[in-house]
């Protein structure tokens, strides 16, 4: 199912021979991503028929028109870290690597927004915005990930959502090449103005563009976006340093920058931690907030060093590994407050201390010494390097519906309990046997939060992989005792084919959202050329069923 010569030549004529390839050697570097084994049984997903490196919007528009003419699937991506970004429904699909579109077009400090192209990373924008006293939220995935991928196309949940929002609510105007090849400027861009607003005078299509978890390439290509920025109270530049002879992973901030304060209180158990979290978030004092992942420890060189450190701490009876101790990582939260004046910081700190005191919070020396706080700050504020080193993969069993904190708590606690059982069996990484969840609350918890119980498993250990699949299937089965509210998602999308059973099983229970999704897709993409593997399939595959329940089907079909 490769491209015919005529089709390839038509694409080549647009981008130039230097920027298109059909060389198997190169193509096969565009289908190997973490997480693939979970879905496809193999590290390779379907090999694209060609990969293109377009230079601009006009080229992309022309390429998409060719795709429509010949019925070729296409999918754009930014850094390509997400498994979804490279998955294709069949080998008659092409990938658009947007690396050449890498400019920060504008930082409009007065109006607190930036206009960027797709290959601008979150970390790069953080560095540039800081020079203007501004900040963009922190994506967990690290310093390659694109701003547009996060804000406009994929998940976009952030550790700083309590202050900076997330899930597409930072998207202002965008330039969007529809799956037909037409170029649409959303919001103010439509009337020829710049992209300062997504909400008129032209169409406000943010919901259509991405919805909650992103269209993941299923809706065409965002070629330019204006995104909101937030106040930055730190210095215009910063330096992470280390002592001579220390490995690069040891680089750290000397101290928490002026303008910020960091606190890592611990509570007696997970229930109490979730309760105090709710009150802390609602107090509208936080800049960043996280549970469970507190980033206070020095990042070790490698797994062996990490393990040696853990053993040493365990031998010393270090309480951070013992959930019963009341100061374990699992029951601790990292709170960052920021402000322009000392008075503002004083006020926020006072509030924080009152609330944490109410729930019996303690501030252990280990988590609250200046070095630990500086590390926690860097970890939660900047889009830094993520670490899949421990086991090779992870599963964020994401319960991320908008909803009440009570519901989130219920789900988080139940999920954590299930996960703990897999940890006990040795299938998942176990950090002391306690229940652990991570919460990323949105807008002071006024909207909801992403609650995740991250399971670290080894995709190349059959038992661990089987457990991971069982775990996810259990959590996402609507017949399960979780009585889950809202459409579950894994890192934004467990709807990736071959597991579209999630849509099938949940759509009918949830206002037939999948039917509407498909209608929207059909309207925007009449020829179904925007790859749908991480969005909504044109038709559901005929998967095996258990009663009404559609069973998952892992693996892939591919001819190369």
């Amino acid at each position: 199912m490769k491209l015919a010569e005529e089709e390839y030549k038509a694409l080549e004529a647009i981008v130039g021979a230097e920027y298109i390839t059909r060389e198997p050697v190169i193509l096969d570097t565009y289908n190997q991503v973490w997480g693939n084994v979970f879905f496809f049984d193999e590290k390779h997903s379907v090999r694209p028929a060609a990969v293109l490196l377009p230079a601009n919007t006009a080229e992309i528009s022309e390429v998409i028109k060719v795709c429509n003419k010949y019925g070729i699937l296409f999918k754009p991506f930014s850094s390509g870290f997400e498994y979804l970004s490279l998955s294709l429904a069949n080998t008659r699909g092409i990938l658009l690597d947007l690396k050449r579109m890498n400019r920060i077009l504008e930082i409009d400090a007065k109006n607190m927004r930036a206009v960027v192209e797709p290959y601008v990373s979150v970390y790069r924008l953080q560095l540039e915005a800081a020079r203007h006293g501004l900040y963009t939220g922190r994506i967990g995935v690290g310093y390659s990930a694109g701003v547009i991928a996060a804000e406009c196309c994929h998940h976009g949940c952030q550790h700083t959502m309590v202050f900076t929002s997330g899930y597409g609510r930072n998207t202002l105007g965008v330039e969007w090449v529809l799956p037909t090849g037409e170029i649409l400027n959303m919001g103010s861009g439509e009337s020829g103005g710049d992209l300062f607003s997504a909400d008129g005078p032209g169409f406000s299509l943010r919901g259509i563009l991405r919805g909650r978890t992103g269209a993941n390439g299923g809706h065409g290509v965002v070629t330019k976006a204006s995104v909101k920025l937030y106040p930055w109270y730190g210095p215009p530049q910063w330096e992470q340093t280390r002592k001579p002879g220390e490995p690069p992973s040891f680089g750290q901030l000397e101290r928490v920058p002026d303008g910020y304060r960091v606190f890592v209180p611990s509570f007696k158990d997970l229930d109490a931690t979730l309760e105090v979290s709710e009150e802390l978030c609602r107090a509208e004092i936080l800049y960043a907030f996280g549970i469970g992942i507190i980033g206070t420890a020095q990042m070790q060189e490698g797994n062996d060093e990490e393990w040696a450190m853990i053993q040493q701490m365990m031998q010393k009876g270090n309480q951070s590994f013992d959930p019963a101790s009341g100061i374990s990582v699992a029951n601790s939260v990292v709170c960052v407050i920021g402000g322009r004046s000392a008075g503002e910081l004083e006020y926020k700190e006072k509030c924080l201390r009152v609330i944490t005191g109410k729930y019996g919070g303690s501030f252990s020396e280990q988590f609250n010494e200046p070095g630990a706080l500086a590390r926690a700050f860097a970890d939660i504020i900047w889009s830094n390097g993520v670490n899949l080193r421990a086991t090779g993969d992870f599963l964020p069993s994401s319960s991320s519906p908008d909803g009440s904190p009570a519901m989130l708590k219920k789900l988080a606690l139940e999920e954590a309990e299930v996960k703990r059982r897999y940890e006990e069996s040795g299938a998942f990484l176990s950090m002391g046997g306690g229940r652990m969840v991570s919460w990323r609350p949105e807008e002071h918890l006024s909207i909801g939060a992403q609650g995740i119980s991250t399971a670290q498993y080894d995709p190349y250990d059959p038992a661990s992989l089987a457990a991971a699949r069982e775990f996810i299937d259990k959590l996402f089965d609507p017949r399960s005792p979780f009585n889950r509210y809202g459409v579950p998602s894994r890192g934004g999308c467990l709807q990736i084919e071959p597991v579209t059973h999630i849509h099938q099983n949940w759509g009918r229970l949830y206002d037939n959202y999948d039917v509407y999704l498909r209608k929207i897709k059909k309207m925007l993409d009449p020829n179904t050329v925007a790859d749908w593997t991480a969005f909504i399939p044109p038709e559901y595959p005929d998967y095996a069923k258990d009663g009404d329940y559609v069973l998952p089907s892992y693996g892939k079909e591919e001819e190369i």
Binding site: Y19, T21, E23, P24, V25, I26, D28, T29, Y30, Q32, V33, W34, K43, H44, R47, L53, G80, F81, R100, Y123, R124, L127, E128, G142, Y143, S144, E239, G245, E246, P247, P248, S249, G251, Q252, E301, G302, N303, D304, W307, A308, A378, S383, N384, G385, N387, L388, R389, A390, T391, G392, E423, G426, L429, S430, M431, Q456, P459, Y460, S464, I560
Partner: protein
């Protein structure tokens, strides 16, 4: 090891793309955040270290073959190890070793680049990588009153290396290095016409047999000469003697010094002191082979095991080479000791320094790419306000000169030996 031995690494590469950038903690200027010249220039993911893991895995799974594209991608790489450092901040993987094994496999299977074949033919015939006659090897030292260790004995052997020996623009530097050491009373000599290549660059091209052959030759020659110390001005040679020989089980029994280390020692002993001012703002370029690739080899034998469930650990614990123990401070301290000289740092330094462009056989096979990489570095030097760029390797100086000539950049290019000589 063979490339298949890195299957674990091929599987675990997550495609985070951190190998493309310098480690995020040290990014200060977003114009200079890229770490890998290959993917920065050629853009396709295959050109990154992650891409090499992917290529190797596809090869292993019989999805692709070693063809022209494979070779083109594999050899458009300086083997500079920047990716290796960046990857290892988050991962326990060995991208550089995998690339090395892929090159070895290509050579073993007769998948060769014609240009490299010529270079290797020259090496086999003339014992140097410069396609020049062996008879001219010691010419750089003509007129110097220096001991010939083929006939005389000395404590220290000065190994000039192929580049300094044959590159006419660099020969004066080799002489200067020799004179500096000799003038301080070091009992030093050269092998003259009998000096042979270290084999390090051939190894990087994938010719593993050449490294073994030259390592054995060197060990034998050094033993016969009865020297206790080897000093070289060439970073590539330093890495070969210090790291690669050890890697292949042929660790020399004598001490190996890069000339900067030896000069530094002489400064500390009060045998060298600088008297002349050099009023110049310079920036120091870390040669890959003195820096991250000059880190001593770490031998490890053991097995992969598990902790806390599926956490991947090793028994006994495995120490990865993360570039930390390369030579970084020594040359800087020498420069700082020169009166009037102002040292400014570039944005990409030490473990995460940008390559000069000469490494991995690129200067031979893809000179345009070598020049491009060199020019990116010159831009960086200019961005920090340097009037001159200083390196501690003949290959770097050669490539910076070529790059400056190609782009019309008038940045001054120094070998650290030249500045030391000027300041004495």
């Amino acid at each position: 090891m063979a490339y298949q031995d890195y299957t674990h690494d091929m599987q675990r590469c997550t495609r985070c793309s951190y190998c493309k950038w310098i480690p995020y903690r040290y990014i200060k200027n977003t114009d200079f955040m890229e770490g890998c010249p290959s993917v920065a220039r050629y853009l396709w993911h295959a050109y990154s270290a992650s891409g090499k893991f992917n290529m190797a895995y596809s090869l292993l799974k019989d999805r692709i073959e070693i063809d022209e594209t494979f070779l083109d991608v594999l050899y458009h790489c300086h083997m500079d190890g920047s990716c290796d450092v960046s990857c290892k901040v988050q991962q326990d993987l060995e991208p550089l070793q995998l690339m090395q094994e892929l090159r070895i496999k290509c050579v073993e299977e007769g998948q060769l680049l014609p240009v490299h074949m010529l270079v290797i033919e020259g090496l086999r015939k003339e014992d140097n990588m410069m396609q020049s006659p062996k008879a001219d090897r010691g010419k750089w030292a003509e007129g110097l009153d220096v001991k010939d260790l083929a006939r005389e004995s000395a404590e220290v052997v000065y190994h000039a290396g192929c580049r300094y020996s044959y590159d006419e623009e660099l020969q004066p530097i080799a002489r200067a290095g020799m004179q500096i050491l000799r003038n301080t009373g070091v009992d030093i000599g050269i092998m003259g016409v009998d000096e042979a290549c270290c084999g390090g660059r051939a190894y990087e091209l994938g010719y593993a047999g050449e490294l073994t052959k030259y390592a054995e030759h060197q060990l034998e020659t050094l033993r016969t000469a009865g020297v206790k110390v080897l000093v070289t001005p060439c970073a590539d040679c330093y890495a070969a003697f210090k790291v690669l020989y050890d890697k292949i089980g042929k660790k020399p029994e004598i001490e190996i010094f890069h000339i900067t280390q030896y000069i530094h020692r002489l400064i500390e002993e009060g045998k060298i002191s600088f008297t002349k001012e050099i009023p110049l703002t310079v920036t120091y370029h870390d040669p890959c082979h003195l820096g991250r690739l000059g880190e001593p080899w770490i031998h490890w034998q053991g097995k992969e095991t598990r902790a806390m469930g599926p956490m991947i650990i090793h028994d006994p614990p495995k120490k990865f080479r993360r570039g930390t123990n390369g030579v970084y401070e020594t040359p800087r301290e020498i420069l700082k000791a020169i009166p009037g000289l102002r040292l400014v740092e570039m944005y990409r330094i030490r473990e995460y320094a940008w390559c000069c462009g000469a490494g991995g056989g690129v200067i031979d096979a893809h000179p345009d790419f070598a020049v491009w990489t060199g020019n990116e570095r010159l831009k960086e030097a200019r961005a920090v306000g340097a009037e001159a760029i200083v390196s501690a390797c003949g290959w770097c100086k050669r490539n910076f000169l070529d790059a400056a000539a190609a782009s019309g950049d008038n940045m001054e290019v120094y070998d650290i030996i030249e500045l030391v000589q000027k300041a004495l």
